[in-house]
Symmetry: C2
Subunit: 375 residues, 2 copies
């Protein structure tokens, strides 16, 4: 018997036409060190949406599939094609991580058979995933697939921020879009580890989420007096590193300026080169469109703005540190690393225009989960 199942695919043609579809694919038999998992939960992270939709213009969305074979078409503006030349013409599976139940196992992976596991490695928006046993993690007893669906990207990213801050000698952290699932995890880690965290959000509701889990410093960037309150929070905590999910606009620049303002308060003599305090901004997301605008006039001379992504971080950190971080995630899966979803959808549902438009907005506090067993 050949097992087959649906798999979500994203393809961009040379002319900029992006097609989303569900393909019926053969799962294949597991190799000796492989397992087959029935996918029961897979989150829609911003990075997944990035691969799914590329730089397409969502206003061009049209439904092109028939009944039972959902398919959507969007257009990528020509100016954005050079940046994605490498994927043109390729039918790409989507979905970084997920969880489900093991339904078959190769010779060397029998011990895991029947277990519920979390897993990581792409192509998770599918009925089944054939995967190497070393890329799955058995869930603790009693944990649901939903509990294990997001046990890699957000948890390891939040832990990676703290690890990065420590390794680079910073004693407190600033975080933006801080009420996200990731932001809540970061706040819990910082509370447990005694690292002061300055949370920046954009609404009272978001502030409430963080205050409820014990946050001390929560600033709403839409309120008057934000710049002064940010500087005060930075002074109170000693934060010299920031992780920014927004990317576009001036928020990152505002944070570096606030850090420098605080550093200058501590100086006795004027130096036209600014303070000696090194300030690091890591950009790890693009929630805000447009270029990053750096008003360097207020930075002093000791600053750096860099990209931060999980995979390069883990590669640099090495397998020992990755193993330590993964153990912590497993140990605290339903506490520190609990994720919250506002909507659970089926695979076919994810390709309905109104549903796609809803998760594409990436609103903080909203999070979608795909459960392929729902159809």
């Amino acid at each position: 018997m050949t097992r087959t199942g649906r798999q979500m695919r994203s393809t961009i043609r040379e002319d900029g036409t992006l097609t989303l579809s569900l393909e019926e694919v053969a799962v294949g038999d597991p190799g000796d060190d492989e397992v087959i998992v029935r996918v029961e939960a897979a989150p829609l992270n911003p990075s997944d949406i990035g691969l799914l939709l590329g730089p397409a213009d969502v206003s061009t969305l049209v439904e092109t599939g028939g009944a039972g074979t959902p398919s959507l078409t969007l257009t990528v503006p020509e100016a954005r094609l050079p940046g994605i030349r490498g994927r043109l013409g390729q039918s790409l599976p989507v979905g970084n991580e997920g969880a489900g139940t093991m339904v078959a196992a190769g010779r060397e992976a029998r011990a895991l058979e029947g277990r519920r596991v979390g897993m990581f490695g792409g192509a998770m928006y599918a009925d089944y995933r054939r995967i190497r046993a070393q890329d799955v993690m058995p869930l603790p007893d009693g944990a649901s697939a939903m509990d294990g669906a997001s046990m890699f990207v957000n948890p390891l990213t939040a832990l990676g921020f703290v690890e990065t801050a420590r390794r680079e000698g910073h004693k407190a952290i600033v975080h933006t879009a801080a009420a996200s699932n990731l932001g809540q995890m970061l706040q819990k880690i910082c509370l447990a580890d005694g690292i002061p965290l300055v949370n920046i959000v954009r609404s009272p509701a978001q502030a409430g989420i963080l205050l409820a889990i014990g946050a001390t410093h929560v600033l709403d960037s839409t309120e008057p007096g934000f710049a002064d309150r940010l500087a005060d929070a930075i002074e109170a905590t000693g934060a010299t590193i920031a992780f920014d999910a927004t990317g576009g606009g001036t928020l990152g620049s505002d944070i570096l300026q606030a850090m420098e303002r605080v550093a200058l308060r501590g100086m006795t003599a004027y130096s036209r080169y600014g303070s000696d305090v090194f300030k690091q901004l890591y950009v790890y997301g693009s929630l805000a469109a447009g270029p990053t605008m750096l008003d360097r006039a207020g930075f002093g001379s000791q600053w750096s703005v860099s990209g931060w992504l999980l995979f390069p971080f883990l590669r640099k950190a090495g397998p020992d540190i990755e193993a330590r971080l993964r153990r912590r995630v497993a140990d605290e899966l339903t506490t520190t690393f609990a994720s919250h979803y506002t909507r659970v959808i089926g695979l076919a549902e994810a390709l309905k225009p109104d549903v796609l438009r809803a998760y594409e907005r990436k609103a903080t506090g909203e999070k979608f989960l795909i459960d392929p067993t729902r159809g």
Copy 2:
């Protein structure tokens, strides 16, 4: 006898009024480890102009001094005052570096008496400079004060770029505003040391300056097809680090995008995270006004944009490396590190409105030298 002399001062009051003046100050007797140098040449570097004029609006310039006591007044827009709060109300001497003849020496510095020296440490726009003996460098026989006037900032910066590139594992360099005195030094060092250099200029005349000293890669950013030619030069050299004097605008972003484009050419499989190649942009100047605009969409995930300044670099590099770099400057003072000036002015002349407007433009290829002995 008390020796006195003129000293140029820049003062910004709390209300944003900037005053430039020449003060008659007592030079004082040299301490045991000090010397007194009659200043005969001091360059107007962009960093000097930055201290002299602060963030003042040059269009507000008015002459306020009487005959024999030149004085100018400018206004700093209120929005720019927070960034310079530390200097408000202070009368600051100006001029990072210079050269001249030693006219007095303390007990421990007699060996230098009568020698012509280069020196570094501020307050050089003056008739005399009292300074620690360790902060002066005797000039080679036959070298003029003009030869020694710029033996610190530009030479050590150019050497610092190469040192930074090597220490951070880059094998070729991109440089902007590359026809400057600094840029010419960098090209000569790179030729001598076998490091490929991609020069970016803004006119055929500037390109000519670099080609005449042996540059291979000279690109005019105002010409059509610049982006493609930049990528080709980056591919030919393998450059993954850039030093940018312009700061404002998109040029730095364009360079990072070109580096990533080249890195992607070498990849066989598509990755939404871009290439594995780490790309570093250092911003060391602000020749172009406005914020640095980073279009991260084309950067991949491995990039960093940082401030670069000589003094923090030297502090991090340590005294051994600084001594090695200084020795090279002394050895190659009239060859690799020869500076060219387009105009020599007196101290009082530097405070004439039309002269100030001319050096404030910081046009590449134009360079002013102050010789206080001219009056």
